[in-house]
Amino acid sequence: METERKQEKKEKIPRQAMPEQDPARRIKNFDEVPLGYSPETAVKEARRCIQCKKPGCIAGCPVEVQIPKFIREIAAGDFLAAARTLKETNSLPAVCGRVCPQEDQCEKECVLGKKGEPVAIGRLERFAADYERAQGEVSVPPVAPPNGKRVAVIGAGPSGLTIAGDLAKLGYEVTVFEALHKAGGVLIYGIPEFRLPKAIVEAEVAYLEKLGVKIVLNTVIGRLKTVDDLFAEGFHAVYVAVGAGAPVFMNIPGENLSGIYSANEYLTRSNLMKAYRFPEYDTPIIRGRNVAVVGGGNVAMDAVRTALRLGAQNAYIIYRRSEKEMPARIEEVHHAREEGVKFLLLTNPVEYLGDDGGWVRGVRCIRMELGEPDASGRRSPIPVPGSEFVIDVDTVVVAVGTMANPIVPATTPGLETNRRGYIVTLDEWGRTTRENVYAGGDIVTGSATVILAMGAGRKAAAAIHKKLGS
């Protein structure tokens, strides 16, 4: 009787909203949009969790965070304990709480979601991690004594940082080689400040360094040294996590006009190089008045919302399918719409028009309609004859995907890749066709999510430990 009443009461608490910066204000700054839960709201939200005996949420998480446990700790007001629980399995909780697609993972499996709204697991994760960081006392878990084994990690993105943390805790001497001048990979160069503050990434990297991970910047493996050189230097295993960093263009006329960027370039200038603070920072970026972003994924949303913050009067998304097929998270599309982004759906660019100086001045588009489902299961877009029209633009960002960067595979004999250039793994543990070379993240799967790349890092850490740890 008592439990039933309690349960009833719990289900009546609605899913707690997270306060956000007002759209009119936030498009004038690069500060984070969602503002996070207060402790009171977090406890209230945590109390919605019914602590299932067989929790579906854990199974929905690529790194199997002990979700009911950390939520129980939040409900009890022990926020630091919750942060510790998170970090047992997830070395980047403040990041994942922000950028994971929880609606497709843990929250999708939440039993409360069957009838109503699932527990806001992502928001709670973010809260616990932020709380711990704000306390200034980031706990460092016990690290096993050094086991004398050295592991080289290529790429300091989500996958590389995860394996580095896991192996460091197990007593390995881990060195992460990063091509750029800051660690974090896509978390630093790709995802904008307003969605993932860089201070958070820096704090997560500092935490790994506390665990004993050595991070060597400005080092392009395949150029400065090869994978074979790393073995010759005494590393016992190498983990390749270089991402899918090469931009895809559409190869349509006019694509090399000035003012046309890949999403990688546009976001790297703004995020990594802080071009949005030009001229305080030296790297420039074109502050377009009429900006078109081609694509419908999260990267496209990041780019178009960056364009608004750089002062665009008209910021368009040009996407060849309908909103239903958009790969971007619903939340990101919602944020973009709130901020005034104009969506040109079922539309595809066919040509860019330039002026005498070589600057883009317009994009010729064609209307599309949806035909039969293609290999991806999505209905394939078909051009509508005679439906072409031109929109005036002075800046374009092409965000139609990325592909494998060939530098590491091309300089590592015996490391097999598939026909699209991604590294072939022999099993789910990241083993490759080269002995003691493991791979994971986007360089194996093609562009996917932060958390999947982290999951691959965890598995490879376990595999390397099984191989070298005894």
Partner: protein
């Protein structure tokens, strides 16, 4: 953590051209002719690509030569000296020059491009080629690396646009005369301002002489990630940072390169008023 990229030597080659040696032991060991580094001065600095002119593996240093063209290079020339360090020296980047014994080669360098052609000339000479070098500058004071080039060439012709030193005229005119004289030329390497490379490619095209040019478009990451440096070669889009920086001069769309190089003129002028852009976009 990153190594300490300290300047170990600095020398003015002319009023606007500076040579620097920087500590970067691993790069010094590894680099080959034709490769470049990306430099960044400090936290707020931009990333700029510069060719590695020379290296000393034993001393652990690399040499760069640059001309003051904007805020970053001006800061390097005016504010940085021996003992100061760069935040970033990343490299070696790009594909090395394809070096073999071609027979008789002509190396053409213009302006600060002489610094870029020097390591290639040296490597070609070491590979057994007969090397004819033609270097040029606007005026006598801007001629750089004359002695160094002479040391790695069988014959060196120096030109100035104003006739203040050596041959009075463009490097391309000397090359044209050389071709007209019937001398056998197996390959031409041309590095300098875009108009110079374009003209050289036009001069060698009728004679069918393979001509390699080195392109220096705007770059950001310089590892193939961003596509800022895309150039059109033979109608195909290539990334200069990973597919180049050297390409077949007869296939390069130099006009596109010129336009793309002007993309940030306004911003660069804003960042550094003295920057001479020569063109103002709208």
């Amino acid at each position: 953590m990153s190594p300490n990229y300290v300047i170990t030597q600095k020398q003015n080659l002319s009023e606007t051209v500076v040579r620097m040696e920087i500590r970067a032991p691993e790069i010094a060991k590894r680099r080959r002719a034709g490769q470049f580094v990306v430099l960044k001065i400090d936290e707020k600095g931009e990333r700029i690509p510069l060719t590695i002119v020379d290296s000393d593996a034993e001393a652990g240093t690399i040499t760069i030569i640059f001309q003051v063209v904007g805020k970053t290079t001006a800061r390097m020339a005016e504010e940085m000296g021996v003992g100061d360090a760069f935040e970033v020296v990343q490299g070696p980047l790009g594909r090395p020059t394809e070096i073999e014994n071609f027979g008789r080669v002509v190396c053409v360098g213009g302006g600060v491009g002489v610094g870029v052609i020097y390591p290639i000339t040296k490597a070609l000479k070491e590979a057994g080629n007969e090397v004819v070098s033609i270097i040029g500058a606007r005026t006598k004071d801007l001629v750089i690396l004359e002695d160094e080039m002479a040391a790695v060439s069988d014959r060196l012709i120096v030109c100035t646009d104003d006739g203040s030193y050596g041959f009075h005229g463009f490097v391309s005119v000397v090359l044209e005369d050389l071709i007209a004289s019937g001398e056998r030329i197996d390959r031409v390497f041309a590095i300098g301002p875009v108009p110079m490379m374009k003209v050289v490619a036009e001069v060698t095209r009728p004679a069918g002489i393979p001509t390699i040019v080195s392109l220096n478009p705007i770059m950001v990451d310089a590892t193939g990630m961003c596509g800022a440096c895309r150039v059109s070669v033979g109608g195909r889009t290539r990334f200069a940072c990973v597919d180049g920086p050297e390409f077949d001069g007869h296939e390069v769309d130099f006009d596109l390169l010129t336009k793309r190089l002007r993309m940030y003129c306004e911003q660069e002028a804003e960042a550094y008023e003295r920057h001479r852009c020569g063109w103002h976009g709208n």
